[in-house]
Structure formats: structure tokens, C-alpha cells
């Protein structure tokens, strides 16, 4: 910042009314009471409290919550088992075992796809690394379990998160608005490796 960009201002001078405090305190009390009155008797929308278990917050679509494994149009897992996500993962919580794909449009598919949700730091790097947009972070946030084993999500569980979020209509922002990865574009555009078409 240069010196001529600085604007020098004088702080307002105290008058007698400020110096004896009491009028200022009275003004403050009026503010306090106005807020109290508007909470008690005003419209309900002025109250900022959300009654959590009954009333769920509307999280933004780019919220980074529980992962999901996306399905393609035919309901198959979209993942091509390229290990990009597990390589990118700073917490090393993604574990993939690849197997030869039973489908003609790709070479490999994940036989095992496990995410340890307790190790995950929800940074969203797997989402960025994925070339086919198969892994995404959803807006589900209230993740609980009775044991550590319960919190290790396998492929079926992650696919069921996809089904659940699609049913709820809370798709992550990439699915609905963002530009998709090159590899997930339709096969007609000349890129091989993916046959699915994003909505």
C-alpha cells in the first residue's frame, strides 16, 4: 500500500453526553430491549435458532460431507480404479483393489473400494483428482456409528450413499453445475475410457 492511498480520519470527539456514560448506556439498553422484543413478539423468521434434529439446515451444495461413489446411466459404478484418488489422499484413507472390468467400455473396475471415514479429513482432494467424477463429497454431515468398523465404508455402502442423495435431491455442486472432468464426457467427443453421459 502506498502512502497516498491512506486516508487519515479523525476519531469522533466525545461530547458531555458520551463522557457521562449514562445516555450511551440508555441507548444501548434500547437496542438490547428491541432485540429482545423482536425475538419474543416479532415474526418467527427473525429468530436465528435452528431446532436441529427436527429442523435440518440447508447446506450449500459444495459442502464436503460423506463421500459417495457415483453410478453411471446403467447403474454401474463409474469408477475405473485408476488409484488417482487414493494417491491424492493426504490421509491415506482410500483403499482400492482393482480387477479386470466385466464391461467392455473400460479396462479395470474396483473390486474393493473402501474409505475409512474416521481417517478422512474431508479435504475434497479425491474429488478433484478423479478423472471420471466417480467420487464426490455430499452434503451429508451427521455421520455416526457404534464402532470403528462401522465407519469403514465399502463400495456397496458408498453406492448406497449415492442412491440416498439422489433420492433426496441433494446432489453435490459438480454434478449439477460444475464443469465435469474430461474423461467423463461422452464417448462421441473422441475421448475413450468413459461411456456415461452426465445430466
Amino acid at each position: 500500500m502506498k502512502a497516498d492511498e491512506i486516508t487519515w480520519v479523525k476519531s469522533p470527539e466525545f461530547g458531555v453526553m458520551d463522557q457521562i456514560f449514562l445516555p450511551a448506556i440508555f441507548t444501548g439498553l434500547v437496542t438490547t430491549l428491541t432485540h429482545m422484543g423482536s425475538t419474543l413478539f416479532g415474526p418467527k423468521k427473525d429468530v436465528v435458532t435452528q431446532q436441529f434434529p427436527e429442523q435440518r439446515p440447508h447446506l450449500p451444495a459444495n459442502y464436503r460431507g460423506v463421500h459417495r461413489l457415483n453410478r453411471d446411466d446403467e447403474g454401474r459404478v463409474k469408477c475405473v480404479a485408476c488409484y488417482m484418488c487414493s494417491t491424492a489422499c493426504p490421509a491415506h484413507c482410500i483403499d482400492i483393489v482393482a480387477a479386470p472390468s466385466p464391461w467392455p467400455d473400460r479396462e479395470k473396475y474396483p473390486e474393493v473400494f473402501v474409505i475409512d471415514e474416521l481417517r478422512c479429513i474431508y479435504c475434497g482432494m479425491c474429488e478433484q483428482a478423479c478423472p471420471v467424477d466417480a467420487i464426490e463429497l455430499t452434503t451429508l454431515y451427521d455421520l455416526t456409528g457404534h464402532s470403528r468398523e462401522e465407519m469403514i465404508f465399502n463400495k456397496e455402502k458408498l453406492l448406497s450413499v449415492f442412491d440416498k442423495t439422489v433420492a433426496m435431491g441433494t446432489d453435490p455442486i459438480r454434478t449439477t453445475h460444475g464443469r465435469l472432468g474430461v474423461a467423463s464426457e461422452p464417448a462421441s467427443s473422441g475421448v475413450t475410457g468413459s461411456s456415461s453421459m452426465q445430466t
Binding site: 487519515w8 476519531s11 461530547g15
Partner: protein, 455 residues
């Protein structure tokens, strides 16, 4: 002595008051949380029957919680500190009227035909006491007035809604015991053997000692006008002559401010300022010991609210509504309701102020006590002494205190502006002038660097 008291009634009163107090304190915490929530546009605790059972849940939680005593604390003092905090808070309540009272009669010494206003020394032997009583009785016969013994009989026949009636040092006792409460805080902070706790308790001791002075000086005016330290007589004086707040509004403001400091309420809650000192003096306390500190603090708040309404707002007296001579059940209930209403009003005022004024810095706190409130209360008291003694405009001269209070307040404002003008040295220097030692004095020459939008 003829001032018999009924043990049964006293014990019943004590139990009732302590019971109500315990419940009251628990619910005060709920009220505090609710009001905090409303002021901040929130809903507040609303589980467990819309929050009504919340205090009970909290109490059970605190009782059943694990008791943690760190290894490095001074165990004995660590254990007794919360007890001291609570006991002193309870003891201060002993002489504070919480319902209808009648003024306790005064025994005047007429023996040498030169009546002293009140007995300077209570007779130590039975014969001496009888002599005083005889003199009083014969004088009553002579003047056809009511003797002390008969007054006492009437006085004892009415239930006095104060745990220890007829305490002539009333207000002094409250202050003496109330300021003992600081020992609980100091012992708690010191025995915790922890920097934050120690800092909290050090602040607390300095703060409480500083604010005792304006507190005492502001009440001194009331005592001077009433001529007695007895709280029941202070009430009676207000019933006869009007509430003290009408004559001494400035003293009331000073008293209220000092009481906020004595109770460690928010503009002055430096002993436990949680943003700076973790939890202050009760950082190391958990479970019921922590609850006792909390309890003592809220009890203190109730006591001071009672004191506030008793000393400045006429306690159970409300013109045209409560009749001082009505001792029927309905009259007593009405007076009780008026007293309770005033007290609750003050407590709610406390809680609203908490969300209105920001916490003072420690030097500002000391500045306020020693450089502002002490001179103001001294000036106001001095003027009051002159008015009471010389009576410049006749019997009703005490009303002069009203404009005088306003004048002192405005004068203090002007002096404050004058004092906070920068000195020649400060204007010349390149360094922005930051006021006279305190943050809230005027910063005439300080220049605030504003970031321009072109950045």
C-alpha cells in the same frame, strides 16, 4: 432482654428462605440463559418441558459429575474456598428484608433527663437495663406516648420478613459479610496453583476493594438522611418521606455500578473473564464445587438486588397500593409481591446490562473506580452533608439533592472532556495520542489508518 424471638418462626423462616433461594438461584440461571438468548435473537433452552425442567437437569448433572481435584492444588484451601463463597453469600442475606417489615422500636435513654437519641451502649447488666426501661415507661406515662416495651410487643406480634430482625448495624453487616465473599474467590484462585486462576483472583481482590469505597460512600448519604443503619428503619423513612432514589439519583447510579462490580457481573466480570483467563478463579473447579461458586455468585446477586430495592426504592412500599398499616394476610401478600416484583426487576436489569455494555479493561476498571466514582460520590456526599445540616430552603431541602446530583454528573462530564484534551507534547509528537492512560478518554489527535478501496 425483652427482644425475645420465636425460635420456631425463625427456623421456619430460615428454611423457607434458603429453600426458595436454592430454587430461585437455579431458575435465575435459566432466566439468565433465556434473556441472553432473546437479546441475541435466539430461542434459548427449550428442551425438557420448554426449558422449565432445565435447572433441575443442570443440578443433577452437576451433582453426578466426576469431581476432579488436580494433584498440584493446595487441597485444604481448594476445598473450603467454594464453601466460603457460598456461606458468606448466605450470611449477607440474614439482615436484608425480603418482605413486609415494620421499623424496630428505638430504646432511648431518659435516665438523666437528657435523652440521647438512641442508646449508645446497650445496658450490660439487668439492673441497668431495668433502670433504662423504667425511665422510658415513666416518661411514656408522663407524655401519654407509647413506651418501648409496648412498642416491642407490637413489633414482636408481627412477622418480620427478615431473617434477623432488629439488627441496628444492618447495612454495615451486609457490606462486611458481603466483602468477605472475596476470600472465597482469592482462596479458590490461589489454591488452584494455576496462573489463570491466580490472575483472576488477584483482579477480583483489587476490584472488590476498589469498589467498596464508592459503594459505601453512596449508601452513606442514605444513612445520613435516615439517621440509622437499620434497614427496617431505612424502609420506614422512605415510607414517610418518599423513596431515596427521588432525592439521591446519583447515589443510586453509583450504588448500582458498584454492585455490578461487587457481584462480578458483566461490565466488571474481570475475575472470570473467560475470553482471557479460561475461567478465572474457578478454572480448576468441577462438579459441585463449581456449582457452589456459581450458587454463591447468584445468591450475591439476589442479596444485592434486595439491598438495592431496600435502600433506594422503598422495599415493599408502593404509593397508593401498599398501605403501611395493613397487616392482614392480603396486605402482607401484596407487600410481598411488590418487594418481589422490584427485586425481579433489578435482576432482569442486571441481565440486560450484561448484554449492553462491553467488559472494561482492567486499567479502565480502576480508572472508573478511583478517578471517577470516588470523586463523584465524595462531592455528592459533601453537598448532602451541607444540605442536611444547613437546610437552605427549609424542611424540604433534601429535594435540592436532585438538581445537585444532575449538576455533579454534568460537571464530571465536562471535567472529563477537559482532562482528556491532548497535551501540547502529545499534539506535536508523531505517535498518535491515545488518551490519558485509558482507552475510553477522547482520542482527539489519533489518526486511524483506513484501508482505501483501491487496494
Amino acid at each position: 432482654m425483652s427482644l425475645e424471638f420465636s425460635l420456631l418462626i425463625t427456623v421456619a423462616l430460615i428454611l423457607a428462605v434458603l429453600g426458595c433461594l436454592n430454587g430461585g438461584v437455579a431458575y435465575l440461571i435459566l432466566v439468565e440463559r433465556k434473556i441472553s438468548a432473546w437479546v441475541q435473537d435466539r430461542v434459548g433452552p427449550n428442551r425438557a418441558f420448554y426449558g422449565i425442567l432445565q435447572p433441575i437437569c443442570d443440578g443433577v448433572k452437576l451433582l453426578l459429575k466426576e469431581e476432579m481435584i488436580p494433584k498440584y492444588v493446595d487441597k485444604i484451601f481448594f476445598m473450603i474456598a467454594p464453601a466460603i463463597a457460598l456461606i458468606t453469600a448466605f450470611m449477607a442475606l440474614a439482615v436484608v428484608p425480603f418482605g413486609p417489615t415494620s421499623p424496630s422500636p428505638i430504646l432511648i435513654d431518659y435516665r438523666q433527663n437528657s435523652p440521647t437519641y438512641e442508646l449508645a451502649v446497650w445496658p450490660s447488666t439487668k439492673s441497668e437495663y431495668d433502670a433504662v426501661i423504667d425511665a422510658d415507661r415513666s416518661r411514656a406515662l408522663e407524655k401519654k406516648s407509647v413506651s418501648f416495651e409496648e412498642q416491642i410487643k407490637v413489633y414482636n406480634s408481627r412477622i418480620q420478613f427478615v431473617l434477623a430482625p432488629h439488627v441496628d448495624i444492618g447495612i454495615l453487616f451486609v457490606f462486611a459479610i458481603g466483602s468477605l465473599g472475596v476470600y472465597g474467590v482469592i482462596l479458590g484462585g490461589w489454591s488452584s496453583n494455576n496462573k489463570y486462576s491466580l490472575l483472576g483472583s488477584l483482579r477480583s481482590s483489587a476490584q472488590l476493594i476498589s469498589y467498596e469505597i464508592p459503594l459505601g460512600l453512596s449508601v452513606l448519604g442514605v444513612v445520613l438522611v435516615t439517621g440509622s443503619l437499620n434497614l427496617e428503619r431505612i424502609i420506614q423513612h422512605q415510607v414517610d418521606h418518599g423513596w431515596n432514589v427521588l432525592f439521591q439519583p446519583l447515589a443510586m447510579v453509583l450504588f448500582a455500578t458498584s454492585i455490578f462490580a461487587e457481584c462480578n457481573r458483566l461490565p466488571f466480570d474481570l475475575p472470570e473473564s473467560e475470553q482471557e483467563l479460561v475461567g478465572g478463579y474457578h478454572t480448576e473447579y468441577s462438579s459441585m464445587k463449581f456449582a457452589l461458586f456459581l450458587f454463591g455468585e447468584y445468591t450475591h446477586m439476589i442479596t444485592t438486588s434486595f439491598l438495592m430495592m431496600t435502600v433506594f426504592f422503598g422495599a415493599w412500599h408502593l404509593p397508593f397500593i401498599t398501605d403501611p398499616n395493613d397487616f392482614s394476610i392480603f396486605g402482607i401478600a401484596l407487600k410481598f409481591a411488590v418487594a418481589a416484583g422490584k427485586t425481579i426487576g433489578f435482576i432482569i436489569f442486571y441481565m440486560l446490562i450484561r448484554w449492553t455494555i462491553l467488559r472494561f479493561r482492567f486499567d479502565q476498571l480502576m480508572h472508573l473506580a478511583w478517578k471517577i466514582m470516588l470523586p463523584i460520590s465524595l462531592a455528592s456526599f459533601t453537598v448532602l452533608v451541607f444540605i442536611v445540616h444547613f437546610k437552605p430552603i427549609g424542611q424540604e431541602s433534601i429535594w435540592l439533592m436532585c438538581p445537585v446530583s444532575l449538576a455533579i454528573l454534568l460537571a464530571s462530564g465536562f471535567i472529563g472532556i477537559r482532562l482528556s484534551k491532548p497535551t501540547a507534547h502529545a499534539t506535536k509528537s508523531k505517535v498518535p495520542y491515545l488518551g490519558h492512560g485509558t482507552g475510553y478518554s477522547v482520542q482527539h489527535d489519533s489518526k486511524i489508518r483506513l484501508e482505501s478501496s483501491s487496494r
